[in-house]
């Protein structure tokens, strides 16, 4: 039997397989090396960067919820300059696709990062985070207003020759409207979903658990919402989708593929099982073999039939 073809096309780039790791959960690529060889992955997405360095929010930054995790890291990152100096040079040696993730508080912010991250820099694609719910200014706005989202994508598109991925926030009434807006702005690929805005309160202190009050909810708890959004967008918008939100196993990943995602990304699932990406690749391969698919791409959107 011919081995299953796991390669995946995403906005002009070819991934070894459809398994990516998610921004903010996989550091800058080195942290999980003892658990998961990067050459086994389709790609990794780096921690979100901003033009200037950020210390992020005070601790506690994490709170566990039923089958979920709230985080309010607040985009702690070394800033663009330090990123270019200390991190980027190492990245070109990483044996998989490397997706940079950029966040900003103005169109200029996004544009300036896009300008610095082009083909040949060691970056394979640019994911534009318009959805981080943890930052008090800007972030929320870009991700929930279609017009602003379109402008951000257009500003990025104008400055880089890399494929650009729009990362959408689920905290909206109409995810399809947002997807259409970023498509108009020039997005080549869609990433969905980012975290749901949530919070929890400590009964002893009678105060919010997170120093930031609000945090982003991720993990298995949100998977049904994520799958639904991928499904809705896949029906309406003709762009490849990176599906994410609560993937911990190959079954979860296949669910997203069947819903219409071209690739999938694992975030919080790495905390649960640091070998989750490996298990997912293997599980998808087996599923395809057992069902007689010669390519993983045959799964994409299959649940929409009939």
């Amino acid at each position: 039997m011919k081995p299953v073809d796991l390669t995946t096309q995403l906005g002009g780039i070819t991934l070894r397989n459809p398994i990516i790791t998610s921004s903010g959960t996989y550091g800058f690529g080195e942290e999980y090396l003892a658990y998961c060889p990067l050459e086994a992955l389709g790609g990794i997405t780096l921690k979100g960067i901003t033009p200037l360095p950020r210390l992020g929010n005070p601790v506690p930054r994490l709170a566990e919820t039923p089958a979920g995790l709230l985080n309010a890291v607040g985009l702690e990152n070394p800033g663009l300059e330090e990123f270019l100096k200390s991190y980027l040079p190492k990245l070109s040696k990483i044996p998989t696709a490397v997706i940079a993730n950029i966040s900003g508080f103005s169109l200029d912010d996004y544009a300036c990062m896009a300008r610095a991250l082009k083909k040949g820099s060691g970056i394979t694609a640019l994911e534009v985070n318009i959805s981080c719910p943890n930052v008090k200014h800007g972030g929320m706005h870009f991700g929930t207003d279609p017009k602003s989202a379109q402008e951000v994508m257009a500003a990025v598109k104008a400055e880089t020759d890399l494929p650009i991925i729009a990362k959408l926030s689920p905290n909206v009434t109409d995810i399809v409207e947002m997807a259409r807006a970023v498509q108009r702005g020039g997005a080549d690929v869609l990433s969905l979903i980012n975290t749901l805005l949530g919070m929890s309160i400590d009964l002893n202190s009678q105060r919010p658990v997170l120093a930031n009050t609000f945090g982003g909810l991720s993990g298995p708890a949100i998977r049904p919402v994520a799958v639904r959004m991928v499904w809705q967008v896949a029906e309406a918008v003709d762009l490849p989708i990176i599906g994410m939100g609560g993937i911990t196993s190959w079954q979860d990943a296949v669910e997203f593929l069947l819903a219409g995602a071209t690739a999938v990304s694992i975030g919080t699932g790495n905390f649960y099982n640091p070998q989750a990406p490996l298990d997912v690749v293997e599980g998808i391969r087996n599923y395809c073999e057992q069902r007689g698919y010669s390519s993983v791409q045959e799964l994409v959107g299959l649940a929409h039939r009939g």
Binding site: R61, A67, F271, P274
Partner: protein, 282 residues
């Protein structure tokens, strides 16, 4: 390293109210473990795996036995995760990440003074064993609530080490009544009388401290006053436990006095006391 830890022993320490447990896990993690390092444990048997609770729980490695492939975890039941962990039975298999973190550094020579508050004693046992096996002189300062707590939390094992020990309890039921900082202060004064100049034959002391934050802060201040190097073990809620999520940062002062973040999981949990910014809110 991700591995399975087979539960070979799991017992309650002391009485039920104290909620203390001793868990011995067999598996490869024992081979590379260092004192001060920790593992993160999935609190349910792998065959029963559930997403609730979702996160692994960090627990320090209290004893290391590479010959028998065993690590010992000592813990207190605090919330749901440790409550569920307490149900694990011999024969269960728990998913373990680690050993993680940096571990205490061992001085080359001189004396190692261990300063523990409450269950902060737990990670110090492996350190004591290690230091003794390397021929260092070890001394223990341990403060706790009362005699019965100290007994439950492993006093007998410490006695077997036959090291010089100063105990304090809040209620005076064992050792001196009061805080652990008091005997430590006296001892430091003895080796370094207030305004004496450093002498050639002075005892070289290093301190390793673990306990509540306030206690570690006081101990650090004492040690700085007496110019004694000190390492402390910090705690923070963890997501990834490998430095990838920035969930567990602590605030330190760098050489230039600037506030920076380090990751408790990867850069710690052991930090030099003087680096730590104790009352940070950034």
């Amino acid at each position: 390293m991700l591995s399975q830890g087979l539960v070979v022993s799991h017992e309650q320490l002391g009485n039920t109210d104290q909620k203390l447990r001793r868990l011995v896990l067999q598996g490869p993690a024992a081979q590379t473990a260092q004192a001060g390092q920790f593992v993160t444990v999935q609190v349910q048997d792998s065959a029963r795996a559930s997403f609730d609770p979702l996160l692994r729980r960090p627990i320090s490695i209290a004893e290391i036995s590479p010959e028998r492939d065993e690590i010992t975890l000592l813990y207190r039941i605090k919330g749901r995760g440790t409550e569920i962990l307490a149900q694990a039975r011999c024969g269960d298999s728990l998913s373990i990440m680690g050993p993680l973190g940096n571990g205490f550094s061992l001085p080359e020579e001189g004396e190692l003074w261990l300063v523990a508050g409450g269950i902060g004693i737990f990670p110090l046992f492996a350190l004591a064993q290690r230091a003794l096996s390397q021929g260092l002189k070890v001394r223990l300062f341990w403060g706790g609530e009362c005699k019965s707590f100290m007994e439950s939390a492993g006093l007998a094992s410490w006695k077997e080490l036959e090291i010089k020990t100063s105990l304090s309890t809040l209620d005076g039921s064992l050792g001196e009544k009061g805080l652990v900082t008091e005997p430590l202060h006296s001892a430091l004064t003895q080796i370094k009388p207030a305004d004496s100049k450093p002498e050639a034959n002075e005892v070289r002391v290093s301190v390793a401290a673990c306990g509540p934050k306030g206690m570690m802060q006081s101990v650090t201040e004492l040690c700085q006053r007496f110019d004694v190097p000190i390492e402390v073990s910090l705690e923070e809620r963890m997501g990834c436990a490998v430095g990838a999520c920035l969930g567990c940062v602590c605030t330190l002062k760098d050489k230039a006095g600037r506030l920076i973040h380090k990751k408790v999981c990867l850069d710690g949990p052991i930090f030099r006391g003087e680096e730590v910014v104790w009352n940070e809110t950034c």
